[in-house]
């Protein structure tokens, strides 16, 4: 996966570049807004990671410029401004995700990987299938190995999100955002408990556990460990 990182803090950028490289991706790096826009226009990337405040040209204007040029590369905005309305402004400018600083690298990586996947076709699937687990979005039913598993509405949405991003690590904050539409950081382990409930329904008594915990990052739903 090709990632363009536009970030003026050299140390932070080096850390991100190293992290992406270690995760098996191909990161490129620009230190100011204009260089970043040049790179983004002249090359193909899977995801852009754009700092909001940059020298020469600010992050939001890079994204709106790209969008008006017809470039739809998914973009994640990094910002020291972490309030809901900053997020709304970022998304309105054409950003696809928003991560307030300070963040954990695992969070950034998970979000970027999910963004990269979003481009691939099959977005509007009506059923998801992972191993012998099957989720039907139209009939709101979940089956594993042919047995229907009754789920609460929220559990259904949680599983739906995990299955939609099957094979991708999703973080707790991503789950809170996408499933509950809240952007704060819950202090207690509320998400973990929800996951363990879902896991009890999906994986209990099964040979292959599908919902796996990724230490220090979040969860992933996949067939193999």
């Amino acid at each position: 996966m090709r990632v363009l990182i536009i970030e003026d803090d050299v140390e932070a950028a080096a850390f991100i570049v190293k992290g992406f490289r270690e995760a098996g991706h191909a990161p490129s790096y620009a230190a100011d807004g204009e260089t970043g826009l040049d790179y983004a226009l002249s090359d193909e990337y899977d995801v852009l990671v754009v700092d909001r405040m940059l020298p020469k040209r600010d992050g939001l204007s890079i994204i709106s410029e790209l969008r008006s040029a017809g470039n739809q590369t998914p973009a994640l905005i990094l910002s020291a401004l972490g309030e809901v309305d900053d997020r709304v402004a970022g998304l309105r400018a054409g950003g696809d995700d928003y991560l307030p600083k300070p963040y954990a690298f695992s969070e950034l990586l998970a979000r970027v990987e999910v963004l990269a996947r979003r481009q691939t076709p099959g977005e509007a699937q009506t059923t998801y299938r992972v191993g012998d687990l099957e989720l039907d979005r139209l009939s709101h039913s979940v089956k594993r190995g042919g047995d229907t598993i009754p789920l609460q509405p929220r559990e259904f949405r949680l599983l739906e999100f995990l299955m939609k991003n099957a094979g991708q690590v999703v973080t707790r904050t991503m789950l809170l955002e996408k499933v509950w539409d809240y952007h704060f950081d819950p202090q207690t382990n509320v998400i973990d408990v929800h996951i363990s409930r879902l896991r009890a329904k999906i994986d209990k008594g099964q040979q292959v556990p599908l919902i796996q915990t990724v230490r220090g990052a979040g969860y992933v739903l996949r067939e193999t460990a």
């Binding site: 309030e83 309305d85 809240y182 704060f184 202090q187 509320v190 363990s196």
Partner: protein, 474 residues
């Protein structure tokens, strides 16, 4: 200081006021005196005129009955007993036949009519005395001329006396005014100097100083009382600020110290992958905790700054409660705590920021789970509304918060001693307070008998400037 004092006296408002009043009052008094003098003399002149008319009529009757000889006899008779009356009669040739006037100014005879002039009065023993008179000069058909007059030296004396009295009282008035002003000014300045001295000491850092109240209930006492109330407030918030900074120092220093100790300890030992990794993991955990604390502080600051950073939208509050409750339900169940909601049948809509209200509720449930709930107890969420406000509350049956601490716990980093060792940043209630204030609402801590009830009141029909009905569709 003392050499500057007289100058300062003239610069005071009291001086300017007093000087202004003195000028106005002086002018008024001078006017009054002038009018008095004028009225006195005009009364005397009018009286003289009336008496002269009567005398002229009396002499006229003598003239009609006895001709010039009758007039001559009457005048001579009158002139002898004259008192302060003046009589003179002259022939057409100008020879004076009768006169009790010592010396007349030139030309009086030649102009008939009313005249006023200075003359010499014949005093006892034939001595002459300067005086003033008002006279009437008549010319008879035969060419004889008659002067009848009244001495008005007395009127002049009265007028002079009035004028002198007025001058004396004017001077006295000014002198007394000046004295009174000096007295008032000294008093006022002393009170003001007292206030200045106190504020000076407060500026020097003695915040517990207060302005002395004299108990007279005057405007200085009222000002002093107001200032003292203000100082009480300031002192209280300074104390709180100090407590908050102490707490910040403690709450941020503790994880930093732990982190540093962990790293230092790992470095001191011979390289060992397992030990190093463990140290790193522990340090990362501490760093995350620090980050969370900073994030919470930042959020409070942002919410408190308020303004247009947060969009408002019409929100059904019941759904916010069920959403957050549903989020916490599994955690509560694991802790053996029943999470229940008491919602009204009718939806309650308010213009709020859903995210912030949700965050506040989450914090309250979190607090209740940490400090208020125990196995088998209940946390109750409730929503109710009146015409003007919606009330959201979270109650537990825990130990509650003593009345004395209920104000304090809203502050940043304030944790009651028994909970200081427990998990948590001590920022929860401060954040909830900020969220309530952001919506022009209030946060109230009450007794749930037993336990703690935290109630947020949000005004309905909110119309905050800059409110938009938009939200990102993320």
């Amino acid at each position: 200081m003392s050499s500057a004092k007289p100058l300062r006296l003239f610069r005071t408002t009291a001086f300017k006021l007093a000087a202004g009043y003195l000028v106005v009052f002086g002018l008024f008094a001078a006017g009054l005196v002038g009018y008095l003098v004028f009225e006195t003399s005009s009364v005397l002149v009018r009286d003289a005129d009336r008496r002269l008319t009567l005398e002229a009529r009396r002499l006229g009757q003598h003239y009609q009955r006895g001709g010039i000889n009758g007039l001559y006899a009457a005048m001579e008779d009158s002139a002898v007993r004259a008192g302060n009356r003046l009589y003179a009669l002259s022939t057409p040739g100008g020879d004076v036949l009768v006169s009790n006037i010592g010396r007349l100014p030139e030309g009086v005879w030649s102009e008939p009519g009313l005249a006023r002039f200075g003359y010499d009065q014949i005093g006892p023993g034939g001595s002459l005395r300067e005086s003033r008179a008002i006279v009437r000069v008549f010319e008879l058909p035969e060419g004889f001329r008659v002067i009848i007059g009244l001495d008005i030296g007395q009127a002049d004396t009265i007028r002079g006396a009035v004028r002198r009295a007025a001058m004396v009282s004017l001077v006295t008035l000014i002198a007394l005014g000046l004295l009174g002003w000096l007295y008032v000014n000294r008093r006022v300045l002393r009170r003001l100097d007292g206030i200045s001295a106190t504020t000076g000491r407060i500026i020097d850092g003695r915040l517990s100083e207060r302005i002395a109240i004299m108990g007279t209930g005057d405007e200085f006492d009222r000002l002093g009382e107001q200032l003292n109330v203000m100082l009480d407030r300031l002192e209280r918030s300074m104390d709180r600020l100090k407590e908050v900074s102490d707490n910040i120092a403690h709450d941020l220093r503790t994880p930093l110290t732990r982190m540093r100790n962990t790293m230092e300890d790992a470095l001191r030992q011979p390289p060992n992958n397992d030990v190093d990794r463990q140290a790193l993991e522990k340090s990362l955990e501490e760093a995350d905790r620090l980050m969370a604390t900073f994030q919470a502080l930042l959020t409070i600051a942002r919410v408190e700054a308020g303004g247009r950073r947060h969009t408002l939208e019409a929100t059904e509050l019941g759904s916010v409660i069920t959403d957050v409750m549903e989020l916490y339900e599994p955690v509560a169940e694991d802790a053996g705590v029943a999470l229940t909601a008491d919602l009204p049948k009718e939806p309650v809509r308010a213009i709020v920021n859903r995210e912030l209200v949700g965050l506040a509720l989450a914090n309250l449930i979190d607090n209740a789970l940490k400090y208020g709930a125990s196995e088998g107890s209940e946390i109750k969420l409730a929503l109710s509304s009146s015409r003007h406000a919606a009330m959201l509350s979270v109650s537990d049956h825990g130990p509650g918060i003593p009345l004395a601490d209920r104000e304090r716990v809203r502050d940043r980093f304030v944790r009651l001693d028994k909970s200081r060792t427990a998990e948590g940043s001590g920022l929860g209630l401060a954040l909830v307070d900020a969220v309530a204030a952001f919506h022009d609402g209030t946060l109230e801590l009450a007794d749930a008998e037993p336990g703690l009830m935290v109630r947020i009141s949000l005004p309905l029909g909110h119309d905050k400037a800059g409110a938009t009905q938009e939200r990102g569709d993320d």
